[in-house]
């Protein structure tokens, strides 16, 4: 049997050896798992935003998109209804944005000409589609946000704010092309 000093030397030799093995194992694990983790993160970064985008867009327009193309993401979408019936749908993002900008400009121009304010009217019934046979509803869905305009006769109403302007159907047709 060995004396205590020899045993001590053996203890330190073995512990050094084991520590070295442990270090090597740790390195090996790190080198094998690191690329996997990077791949997973990169994959998630590529796939996840698309998945989320498809989900949010396909959920929100569910009411009026009519389920034509389920799961297809639309950045901008316009639906025109005449007296509650779908007259047309515009799925082209650029056209929809142009139409929306055109209508928004009409409201802005009106606000400037009336000294910066457009008094919102409370009487929604006056432009309500049920009481007027020629009631058009324009529903825009742009970047997940919905905006609705109602045209009754010559009065165009922004539903969210209640602002109203007078515009001829011809002018609107020019802007939207319905």
């Amino acid at each position: 049997m060995r004396d205590l000093n020899e045993c001590k030397a053996e203890i330190f030799r073995r512990s050094d050896e084991k520590l070295e093995i442990r270090r090597r194992k740790l390195k090996r694990v790190l080198y094998t798992t690191l690329p996997v983790i990077v791949c997973v993160i990169a994959g998630a970064a590529i796939i996840l935003p698309n998945t989320l985008f498809v989900k949010s867009d396909s959920e929100k327009p569910n009411g009026f998109m009519g389920g034509d193309e389920p799961g297809v993401a639309e950045e901008a979408f316009l639906s025109v209804e005449k007296n509650g019936e779908v007259l047309m749908r515009v799925t082209d993002s650029e056209d929809t944005r142009n139409s929306y900008n055109g209508i928004s400009e009409l409201f802005e121009a009106k606000a400037e000409s009336s000294g910066g304010t457009i008094s919102p009217e409370i009487g929604v019934g006056s432009v309500d589609g049920d009481s007027n046979p020629d009631c058009y509803t324009f529903t825009f869905l742009i970047d997940g946000e919905e905006e609705r305009f109602v045209l009754s006769g010559n009065t165009l109403k922004r539903v969210s704010t209640g602002e109203k302007i007078t515009v001829s159907p011809e002018r609107l047709e020019e802007i939207i092309g319905f």
Binding site: M1, R2, L4, C7, K8, E10, I11, F12, R14, S15, K18, L19, R22
Partner: protein
């Protein structure tokens, strides 16, 4: 005497000489204890070296809740049982090697047990079943409390108490028989 805790604290603080103190205090006793299981002083020494190297590798594993001696003996027991599990096959030893082993065991006993009376008891307890041997060894030779012995043996205090009660009874018979033979 604190069974090595203060020395181990010093060792953790960077005092290398503290490890010598732990070695002097506990190493031979651990070899002697492990030898009870493996019945081979060389293997027992090897296991004890492994146990001590654990102290260096996993410095934070010992939590100072039990004594360092108890912790080392727990490790030693578990290593010894592992060894026995992995070496279940009967091993045949050359007669000359067997003599060497017996001599080494005598030397180990000499190194650990100074008291003649204890030596007589040590010879007697070799005739006891293994679990009794270990229990008597821990309490009688290592001066461990029943609690510490229970921790090492992974038994309850009551079980250790029962083991020791039966061991003492049997030891009394063995020692009396030997005395009669000597007379």
């Amino acid at each position: 005497m604190d069974n090595g805790e203060s020395s181990y604290r010093r060792f953790l603080d960077g005092d290398e000489s503290a490890f010598d103190d732990i070695m002097n205090e506990l190493f031979r006793g651990l070899v002697f204890f492990v030898n009870r299981y493996v019945c081979d002083p060389y293997t027992a020494e090897d296991i004890a070296i492994d146990v001590f190297s654990e102290l260096i590798i996993h410095k934070k594993r010992y939590n100072f809740k039990s004594s360092l001696k108890t912790y080392l003996y727990m490790l030693g027991r578990s290593r010894a049982l592992d060894y026995l599990k992995h070496n279940k096959k009967l091993s045949f030893t050359e007669l000359s090697d067997a003599h060497n082993i017996a001599d080494e065991e005598m030397l180990l006993e000499e190194a650990v047990i100074k008291d003649e009376r204890k030596k007589a008891v040590n010879e007697a307890i070799l005739k006891l079943p293994e679990d009794m041997q270990i229990a008597v060894h821990l309490v009688y030779f290592e001066d461990m409390t029943y609690d510490d012995a229970a921790k090492v043996l992974k038994k309850s205090k009551k079980q250790v108490d029962n083991l020791l009660y039966r061991a003492k009874k049997e030891l009394r018979i063995i020692l009396e028989e030997e005395r009669e033979l000597n007379l």
